[in-house]
Amino acid sequence: MAKLDQFENMYDVGSKPPMLRNLIRHYLPAANHPRDLNTSCFELPKLVSVLQTHRLLSESDSHSVDPKLINAWKSAVDDWLGCLLSLLSSDMSDKCWVGICLLGVTCQECSNQRFLTSYSVWLDNLLSHIQPPSDSQLVKIASCTSLSDLLTRLARFFEVKKDANSLAGKLIQPVLKLLNEDNVEAVWEGAASLLYTLITFFPASIHHSYDKVEAAIASKILSGKFSTITLKKLGYCLALLPKSKGDKDSWSLMMQKILISINDHLNEAFQGVEEEAKYDEARRLLVTPGKDLPSPLGGHTSLEGGSYNRTSSERLPTATISTLMFCCCKMLTSSYPVQVSAPVRSILALVERLLRVDGSLPPTMLPFMTSLQRELMCSELPVLHAYSLELLIAVIKGMRRQLLPHSAYVVRVVTRYFKICALPELRIKLYSVIRMLLLSMGVGMAIYLAPDVIDNAFSDLNSPAGEDFEISPANTGPALLQPSNRKRKHGTKTGSMEKQGASPKVGESNTHQTTPITVKIAAVDSLELLLTVGAASKSDSWRSSIDSLLLRTAINSCKRGWGNVENNVFLPHEPASVWADFQLSSLRALLASFLAPARVRPPYLSQGLELFRRGKQEAGTTLAQFCGYALFSLEVLIHPRALPLDDFHPAYHNPTDGASNRFPENTYSGSQKQNSLFLSAAQRTEEGAIKSHDDDLYNKWLENENNAFKDMRDTSRPNDSSLANVLEVSEQEPAAANADLHMRGEDEIVVQPRRLEEPIPKSQEIVSANADTSRPAVGTNLEGGQIESKKVLSASDRLNDIDHDMLSGVDKANFDTVGRKTSSTLPNVEKGSSSMTHLESESSMDSFPNIVDADPDTDSDSD
């Protein structure tokens, strides 16, 4: 033991057993010793983090197989578990609680072997704490959570599946008891999380008590008296419940029951604000005439729920309705083992029905509600609308392409609601519905939605408040939402004071309704998606106005500097991050407007590029990352290329990899190979196959530069020798070639960064430069500086019988050029081996295009 206590550092496995023992000594309260609650359990989080960081319970380490060490560790973990179990059996609830919590952590952390040998003991132990004798709620909650962790771990072992299922079955009754008989909300939450684990990992275990579970959950939801979080957890369990049967019918039945229940609640709630006919219509869709009504949700409990609602008819049963709608969402978006038949039309009808109710009284009806009731309803309605939109999103997600037959209906619902929707949160949701539709349904949907999206985005982005709100201080009205408001103040100080004169609406801006930044973000995002999905389709009418709107938005968002997420630590909800989001969104939309297909060159390209360049300088932000990406993707717009696919392969594979390995081989293969390859390649092209695989831009370059080059050649001087010349020299006078010359050749990798900025696609350069070297007669000499690319181009122009289609051959030839060069240097290299090593190391680091790529600039420098 003493030996084991001596360990090297914190990574040493030997340190772990003593560390664990130490933890037991210091942090675990002894079962029989009364100890102050404060000191023992407030340090638990620290204990857990040490356990997890050092993996103290894992009992295995890839580096060490020392049996002594393993034994020591094993006994330490044994002690740990012994300690936990004694805590579990303590009659002090705080100790018990500590033991239960730590057992949960142990389930997660311990080794597979230990888990498999002892999980049933642990399960029994934990189980006893959710059963009647136990009365502390913290203990019950902790037991539920630990049991859930235990089951989660257990689900990963397929070999004990059967045993695990029967064990899980034992849990159902106690959990139901907790749900039915306990009266503390927090305990239900714990029970719900355990139930969720059971349904997810051991669906078969629920099978027998399906109806009871449904009834228990439904009664809680229908009573509607609890916090949203608890209800959501319970609702999620209800949504997943059909998985335990796993057949088509139970899913449909559950969905039908939930929808009927929602409709019943709505009928009651909306009495007086909608026509009676609505009720029948909804009912008709849900229940086929002639078929039996399914039993109400949760069996008899539905009636009780109904009576509950009646007694408190002052209130809208929002919590119940929204939880049930949440159930529907989850049912539509969670996986299910078989295909199901979803009542799409009823769900959509429900959504439409809810979105239609805005608290106004239908003209045909007599006032039925008291004004108090109406006020209450109006205050709750936004929540219901939000959930309906969520449900719509879930339908789109769940149905995917199969929404097609219903898409027209969905579009009509959405566009109609767009016209009346005024609350920021709802508008944001509505925009996300739009985005979902565009994404999942593609261009056909874009044609339909475009007019509405554009109208709404225009009004949101272009609202007078939106414009002025960035530049005029008079706008700082109380009507503004806090985030944008505060931010704006910051902005005014910095740089926009001088601009307020430019705004004609300074005085009246207070009277306009403002659009919160978050809504603007949603609007900009939707425009971006519209552009990416549907810009090509019949967009002429709106394209130019959208482009200019997006540019204006981007400029406005960026003109006061960049939103920094870490601006102010003292304000927890500093609007800067919202602002940064807005900037990012507007720049993204701007990029989309540049890249989206159009007949003309993007009119605001230069301004946009300027914005992106500025943004890129903000190193370390997401914005800079995006701007970098934007600049990168716009490069293609500026230098369009349509490269043939089949040439891609060899050009990509041949160069860099393993150049050093192939080096010697090429040294001796000599130049014949190159020539023969070249010839064959040339012949193949001459046979009249595909002519010119390069893009238009390249040809245009050629046309333009042809004449210029001829003039230039006359004025060129011999001492501006390019590498092409160097190579020729070395080939013609191998004996005279010296290592020095070749070292110079290698120096040309210095040029590489510049090459990247040349506007010519790389492969063509390789081809042309190489073609140059293959013709000893060329002897091109050029003045340095910018002419290099022209020279390369024109060289290849003169050789245009050699087609780029034979890139593969050319690449080989390229390579052989290097080889040939080296072979010619060999005699000298033997004299000066240092230069050879230099040569080799350089060429292995760098691809040969750099070697071949002639750059007169550096060459003349070294001269």
Partner: protein
Amino acid sequence: MNVVIASSSIDGGIGCWDLQTGAEQLRYKTCASPPHGLASIGCCFLACSQLRDPSATSGHVLYWSWSKPQAQVKSFPAEPIKPLAANSEGSYIVGGGSSGDIYFWEVASGRLLKKWHAHYRAVTCLVFSEDDSVLISGSEDGCVRVWSLFMIFDNVRQQQASHLYEYSFTEHTLRITDIVMGYGGWNAIIVSASEDRTCKVWSLSRGRLLRNVVFPSIIDAIAIDPGEHVFYAGSRDGKIYIAALNAESPPSNNYGLHIIGSLTDQSKPVTCLAYSAEGNLLLSGSEDGMVRVWDVKTKNIIRMFRHSKGPVNNILIVRLPYPFTRTESKVQASSRRHESLRPPLEKYANSSDEDMDNKAIIALPDTIDLPSYLSSQLINDHVKQLQQQGSSAAAEMEVKRLKLDGQRSMEMFQQLKKVYDNLQEFCVNELLDGQAMEGSKGN
């Protein structure tokens, strides 16, 4: 694994080969397909319309599952169906009838969702766009029409619009033989081939003809290079012509404007083409019953599959989701279960069954439940709760503890009391025994 699927107009079954290794897989039996009649439905199964003798009044569509050679499901649509197409998800099948009607079925229920009169003569080919929202059809009358499926399903807009289609291209003078669509959503190009010996390139976004390529012979099949550099046109003279899209075409050559070369094997007429982006291979089916695999770069044939004596008229390249082994019982079992759920295609739109209209059979998205452990989070939460002593839970626990403490104190008190009593008794006795003294108070 990528497999090549080929069928013929003469019953030779449906051949299936591994593209990589060339090994032949299962051969699906009894199939005589018209051109464009073979479709893979979302890579889940194969569907093929069948050639019928001219007197037949109903169509014939067969389904095969990947694992069984016999046709699993037989459907008999209201009229002979030639071209078939499915969307990428495999949720819908469209078929083109000989009367010019297009039928739109839902695969999961077999219901005929829509039927509309698309052309004056028989429909010859049907193509879905990349995002499945647009359908392109070609007909014997030489007309190519572009349909937005949203329009097809939107009764309200249909009434406002003068026609159902988005575009109707009428420049071809004879039967359309093949249509392919390029990349890029609504910005894509469409290439159509016709018996009038031309191929025409259309812009979807502008709705007009971009290029007209006249070939030496009738083109029956086209395939487009994924980079849209060129397209390949299989002709009745046995050559596969290479025609320029983005590529520069030389001003003069042997074949005609925009034609920049050919692949040739002195074979019989080329009837169908398919392009495999993986390895840039072009597959061609010929009337001699062979499927040739070309390397488009070297223009050499790298492999040949012998399908049948009769002409091959459909080739598909399908990526199978799972390894194709006949022994894999698990996969078979699950796929068999799916098959039993897959009903045949209905003959007529059945509007009386309103209940089904309201519903859609959907496969819910596949999500994975990742294991998540809650204990450590729970500890943090509870400790926080305990630290705020105000929480009822903490108070309750404290009460419990105090109760126990109290109980323990009680016991201790009892003990002490007992000791005291003993002591007092002892003292009293002592005092009584000894001399009498002034008694002190015990309490």
